[in-house]
Amino acid sequence: MALNNYCLVCGGTGCESSKSDEIYKKLKEHAEKAGISKQVQIVKTGCFGFCEKGPIVKILPDESFYVEVKPSDAEQIVNEHLVKGRPVHSLLYKTSDQVAAKSEADIKFYQKQVRIVLRNCGIIDPENVQEYISRDGYAALEKVLFEMTPEQVIDELKKSGLRGRGGAGFPTWLKWSSTRKTPADQRYVICNADEGDPGAYMDRSTLEGDPHSVLEAMTIAGYAQGATKGFIYIRAEYPLAIHRLEVAMKQSREMGLLGKNILGSGFDFDVEIRLGAGAFVCGEETALMQSIEGKRGMPVPKPPFPSESGLWGKPTSINNVETYANVPVIILKGGDWFASIGTATSKGTKVFALTGAINNSGLVEVPMGTTLREIVYDIGGGIKGGRAFKAVQSGGPSGGVLSAEFLDTPIDYESLTKLGSMMGSGGLIVMSEDDCIVDVVRFYLEFSVEESCGKCAPCRIGGRKLLNLIEKVTKGNATLEDIDTMRQISFAMQRASLCMLGGTTPNPVLSTLKYFEKEYMAHIVDKKCPAGKCKDLVTYSIDQEKCIGCTVCARKCPQNCIAGERKLPHEIDQSRCIKCGACYEACKFGAVLVS
């Protein structure tokens, strides 16, 4: 008996934490009760990307897209939809004009996306290798092992124009080719899954939703470079991704897709997982290799590049998860096909983790060259609460901040670098007029200072001094000379830091000094924080005209420093106010003023 329906439940970390596993179990339970368990396949897939609205349940073939599903909704989904064929209207995603979306195609979030990396996420059960195989899985490996020479594989990559998705965008084929060319008795391939930017989870989702695509790509990489051993360096904070990888590796080994004599081709390749303790700097490739070798994760100077002398001194190529996930598709569809997507210098798609003051936060995959405006407004659904757009931070702590004037810039490696930011691994944090740029810079600097490995003086000391100066700005104590000092430190850090972490730590400072100088001036000269975020520069007061004496603010105040008679205007005792903003949030009459 063929299956009539598929019920796909998002099993990404985000949705799992909102009980998607319970939803999955309940759905199975109710399907069993209703006697339709044979006609419906209920699958726990990887991330759908639309995390803002999770947990998500999708019913196929009619494509009903249920959002914010609770375990208690499972019964209704089964009895109404799966048994009677009537979509549960209340759970359907509503478009901006409150019309229920009939399918994914009606949801703007998905309209401009092109899914190559995430091709299987939200479609297959990541713990079932047969499903991966049914989606052309391991067909690329098959082609590579039996029809292509290693050189041809590298040539195909060269044609595709694929560049590293983890940071600076180094051409992948070149990395592979130089590793291959270095004479050695052993070579290694490494998958960098040490995703550490705040707010980024592209790689985690890919591994959770489609672990086999990375294993297949690593095996291809091994074949192309003459390596028989691979390592996946993944942070221990990603338990679900690790679990799915382990399941996938077990299945692949059992099926002879990993290990000795793969598919009878005579090629041996195996993969080992190495857990990182979550140090940001271990995402830097040389520090990562130190960590795999069991040493303290500190970057070492390049050259020699890993392709010449990497892990245990052997030629090694390191690619990140997203880069690998592209490889099987390129092999199957051809480098020319891949190169037809994207811009002149940046080919293919890029996965972004869209977060911040945005309506539709989530994971999005768009062709290179998509503009920020399309991502923020069309896919992201605009700024939360209808506020004005202020900036986008890209590239994580190493990136920069882009202002509204660049909304229409097509995004690729070069354009972002030109604007003082970088592609990085793909975090996009959207800021509204309510966000203070200086405060945001402080956040990133705090992160970088905390995560500096402490090896080289420019990064170790310079980062701290920069942070001290930025804190001075947020407190209203800075002078104009401090801006010059920040530039002086930044200049030296960019030039004399040992690795990219230190070299790019000043990026948020420099890019905001360039595009948001006014906001710095407001803090330094006027001693004001325009967004009202810097506590030391904010004063809350009560408009004596507007206050009706409802006492709500006084009751909410954790300091008990708002006083006044009932039905008479209240007042804030400034000496005790801790500027928490509770009164501002509480007042329904707009009587609390921020200045």
């Binding site: 008996m1 063929a2 299956l3 009539n4 598929y6 796909l8 006609q39 196929l60 073939p61 009619d62 494509e63 939809h81 009677k84 064929g85 009537r86 399918s103 994914e104 195609a105 479609i123 297959i124 047969q130 499903e131 195989i133 049914s134 989606r135 052309d136 899985g137 391991y138 067909a139 098959e142 039996f146 099926m255 002879g256 897709l257 598919l263 009878g264």
Partner: protein, 128 residues
């Protein structure tokens, strides 16, 4: 596993997997699954469509379910949308008719005259 086994496994799963994919599917079959439809055997009809499409290896068809279309007298009812053909509602579609619809309407672009319920669905919906 041998190469051949891998290929067999891929082919075996492919058809089922393709039905999860929506992109590129241009033909839509909507089966009315209201209480009246189910009572009249709509579930069997739906199964028949799935079965027939799978066995004929027709890939670009989406099968959807909907509630009662309001033609309780002619259940099970089925709506078919495809390019180059008028939108058609068929009535009294039993298992045999379902197979016929796949064979004639979808593969040969010929209407299954006996069962045509001549008004396109969207017009009916509009009037309601």
């Amino acid at each position: 596993m041998t190469l051949q086994e891998l290929r067999t496994m891929r082919e075996a799963g492919k058809k089922a997997m393709e039905r999860r994919i929506v992109e590129g599917k241009t033909i839509e079959i909507v089966v009315g699954m209201g209480t009246c439809g189910i009572a009249a055997g709509a579930k069997e009809t739906l199964d028949a469509f799935v079965d027939e499409l799978t066995s004929k290896d027709v890939k670009n068809v989406v099968i959807k379910q909907t509630g009662c279309m309001g033609f309780c007298h002619s259940e099970p009812t089925v709506e078919v949308h495809m390019d180059g053909m008028p939108d058609i509602i068929y009535g009294n579609v039993d298992v045999e008719t379902a197979r016929q619809i796949v064979h004639s309407h979808i593969l040969e672009k010929r209407l299954v005259d006996k069962h045509v319920f001549d008004r396109p669905a969207k017009d009916i919906v509009k009037e309601k």
